[in-house]
Assembly symmetry: C2
């Protein structure tokens, strides 16, 4: 495998052998390591000194089930700290099959010009992207697939990335060419835009494929692991049937569904935006309720959502998106929410950040809570490049500052996702302490707090939350390095042998003798690397805190976020 | 003397005796101490937990020459750290004469309503300010002086403070009632606005005045000190004659006048915006080139500037303002710059932050460099409350983010003032390390670097800059506590007996036996208190850095900012 270096200052692509210390790194482990080694923590995130590292996971491109995650790493223009953002879609597997361990995009073009990065078995080359400038993601995908064939993978930025907005995402297409999978969080789209890259096309025809040392052992472990995934109630039933939006009713019931900019824990009209409702609507309109975002996924939590006329509206319609535009904005019109999901995918902005941002904009009186037409217009302003669009597209913290709002649900300037930290305290610990800024995926304590997966830790009590979050953060950093979807965690947490099967696959592929302890050590090492970067970028313990308004009581439980600061810091005692 | 506490949540004013440990604190020493003791460093700066502390200096209200400075302290919405911002004008002396050591404004009104704080010999009361809402500073001053008599002091916020913009200032009127003296830096206007206070009127008729223990000794020391100020070439000749704008030609000559958003060290048309030109223009138009911003000032660096028709245009027309809208924006029309100064005073925004912001907006292509009409329109947008106005009014860092600019001259998100840190390295050390964010007044190394005051330290070399900045920062923290104008520093640095005379005045006033060492210790203690607050607010050493673009060579000297990070941190070795 090789690492490619794309120097945008020189317009030159070179390749290098993989250093020995990178051999057992992939995905987040590799992106964070390279960012930490090569990026000045004090650099401007949109300047020549920042780098974007793109890396498939260690198992990507193999037959390991649900292993199609792609990581991108960079210094975040949103948080000012290190960022790893990952997505499904078709890119990771194709890169891995082409023998690409990572792509490091560095420097900055001398002219204000956009390029297309063409990746194939012949290597990587830069081409002009003049014809794509100003285009949105759906259009870009269509145009590139027309030109390069509909089997190619595509990554791209929309207008938000061109405007360098800090909520800009990097889109990755799904198997049908829809740009609905996004490395959403932290402003990767702005970084890619600052490098002058509008799109990346990946043609893996004639790719050598991934070398698996012991195919027999690998197959056996993969089969076993796959069975564990499909037999777990969450990854085998809930997610395939209802998608991630199955969580709407669950979190609402738990009193942890943030409503009206995190003012209440329950949304009166939750039922109207629930996964069950989405499922029935999709069936009725002849969409597809169970769809895989990449080949070989056995969970298939994605779906294709049609409008009232039965025409395609959006896909990959996630819980966090539906929550953000729904409960958080008090919007109960699921079609309007689907339209907003489509707009974000097309313009290239993170749906979570946008959901939080619209809540803050409503708080600031820009539009009223519940105003779905107004919300759609606000999102459209982003691609129009208006002053208001630039405010909204820079996220919740920025929008709050623009409109003098004090109730701003962010940590490290990144919007807090769909689980209220007062009613789900373990996730609050993760929001506060992960080096990523508020991020539920960094240590998804909703498992033991709400879903009773991997045990049960009362979500309303302070006891055990720090340990829960710590263990999950460590495990997640490791999982994010394998290319496996985080949703394998449900099985891993409940099924004693699941982690072993992952290790078996890695050992069979790479001819190694790793143990499960090695996986834990990898996770710890990644977290420490990331935290060191953030310290050198100007963060200290006081940045590992939730906004003050989480001292307010949250109905229905009257819960406050009351884990002492000192205990939060203990997440790092490992 | 008393400390008043204005609780805006309750709408209640109480007074308290001065704690013993506050007795020898005033101005910055007192505001920083109270903020550090009473404000949660993690609070939202515009929320109920922040406080604004207003305090005259220790010598304010006496006959000490040039002792009319007022300090306000708070957690800054611009930097996120502690802030002391001071101004001349008439407020400090009146407060001191009324026996007010400090006013602590805390809480937040329950309703969205504005109040007038009325201060007189009868105490402090809150009154409705409904009639002032939406008004600009000139209008407010006129209206309050009409109502309460033209001898009153007035402090107020303009529309920028009402909009909670982070560049919003607190205006203080001069003896003629013009709101041209501003606690400008750090967003104090937004904090006062968040407390629901639109204006403060100070009526010192029947005030008891300041008690001076040994009047004879005080008078003697004051007289001697006054002579030192008036006989020094800077405070006795340059400043009274040309105002602070005398520095335009000096900095241009030194190659340290930041031009075109800090791209060059000299401005082709510097002569057209120089202090000499301003002086001649004022004389020609029958303005007043030498004016004191408060009674008893012997330096009188202020001036009254008339337009082409001989009508009042602005007053208190400072070097940093003229630099910011002039050289930094490549605008050479001094009347346009004067108009911008007027607009900022009226709207209530910091002229330095606005000068830096307009440079960044020009960099981002919002308007062209040199476009004075466009610049005036941008400033006017602030009071119109447009989306663009909200962007601009939130300062340089915010504007840069909105428009994807990477060349953003800020430290701790506060705009870098009028001295390029590459050509005046001592001031670069101050910008980087002061707890205030980029602030020339926090340790004005221009003295020894450029003006040859207090010795000479080659501005282009790295040697001696850290020590110079450290000593000045310590001394400044102390001077900012006395109520003396920072411009007394020229005499203090060159005249061995000057500091002793200050100590003599303090001893005579308060019946003490302080030594000059005590003054140094006070300065050290203030700085440490401020830095501790910032640490608890999330800052570490990595925040004490200049933006990366100061690695670029600055013409004419080809200078870069090359003081190693490690040495910057040594500022704190005391």
């Amino acid at each position: 495998m090789k690492i490619y270096r794309v120097n945008m200052t020189e317009g030159k692509v070179t390749s290098e052998e993989v250093k020995e210390q990178y051999a057992m790194l992939g995905g987040r482990g590799l992106t964070s390591q390279i960012v930490a080694e090569e990026v000045d923590p004090l650099c401007h995130p949109l300047g020549a000194k920042n780098k974007m590292v793109i890396s498939p996971g260690l198992l990507s491109g193999t037959n390991a089930p649900s292993s199609g995650r792609l990581s991108i790493g960079f210094k975040s223009p949103l948080t000012g700290g290190i960022k790893e953002s990952n997505a499904g879609g078709t890119a990771a597997q194709k890169l891995a099959k082409l023998g690409i361990k990572a792509i490091i995009i560095e420097g900055k073009p001398k002219e204000d010009k956009y390029y297309l990065l063409k990746i194939s078995n012949d290597g990587i080359e830069l081409d002009s992207a003049d014809d794509l400038v100003g285009k949105k993601n759906y259009d870009i995908s269509e145009s590139l697939r027309k030109k390069f064939g509909d089997k190619v993978g595509v990554m791209s930025i929309g207008p938000a990335g061109e405007y360098r907005l800090t909520a800009a995402s990097v889109a990755v297409i799904d198997p049908e060419g829809r740009p609905v999978r996004h490395c959403g969080r932290g402003g990767g789209g702005a970084v890619l835009g600052s490098k002058g890259i509008k799109a990346i096309v990946i043609d893996d025809s004639d790719a050598p494929g991934v070398l698996v040392h012991d195919k027999g052992k690998f197959k056996e472990a993969a089969k076993d692991f796959s069975k564990m995934l499909t037999s777990h109630p969450v990854s085998g039933q809930g997610l395939p049937m209802y998608g991630t939006a199955v969580l709407i009713n669950i979190l609402n019931e738990a009193g942890g569904l943030p409503t009206r900019n995190f003012r209440h824990g329950r949304f009166e009209f939750a039922e109207k935006i629930s996964g069950e409702m989405v499922h029935d609507t999709i069936e009725e309109r002849k969409g597809n309720p169970t769809h895989g975002c990449h080949a070989g996924c056995v969970i298939r939590c994605s779906q294709v959502y049609h409008d009232k006329e039965g025409k395609y509206l959006t896909a990959g319609f996630e819980y966090e998106t539906i929550w953000g535009f729904g409960a958080n904005c008090e919007i109960d019109d699921i079609d309007a929410i689907a339209k907003m999901d489509f707009l974000c995918d097309d313009i290239g902005v993170d749906t979570i950040e946008m959901g939080v941002t619209l809540g803050v904009a409503m708080e600031g009186g820009v539009i009223d809570f519940g105003d779905s037409a107004g919300a759609i217009k606000l999102l459209e302003q982003i691609s129009q490049g208006t002053d208001l669009g630039r405010i909204i597209g820079n996220g919740a913290g920025f929008t709050g500052k623009a409109f003098g709002v004090t109730r701003i649900p962010t940590v490290k300037n990144q919007g807090i996702p769909a689980y209220d930290p007062r009613a789900v305290k373990g996730i609050g610990v993760t929001y506060a302490t992960t080096p990523m800024g508020a991020d539920h995926t960094a240590g998804y304590s909703v498992t033991a707090n709400i879903l009773k997966v991997g045990g049960l830790i009362d979500p309303l009590k302070t006891e055990g939350q720090v340990e829960l979050s710590r263990n999950l953060q460590i495990a997640t950093a490791a999982v994010d390095s394998t290319g496996l979807c985080l949703f394998v965690a449900f099985a891993v947490l409940d099924e004693p042998k699941a982690l072993e099967r992952i290790v078996d696959m890695l050992n069979a592929q790479y001819n190694l003798k790793l143990t499960t302890d090695d996986v834990t050590e990898l996770g710890k090492s990644i977290l420490k690397t990331e935290r060191r970067f953030n310290k050198n970028a100007g963060f200290n313990d006081a940045d590992d805190r939730l906004p003050e308004f989480f001292e307010e009581e949250l109905e229905p439980h009257g819960a406050v976020f009351d884990i002492p600061h000192q205990e939060l810091d203990q997440v790092w005692d490992f």
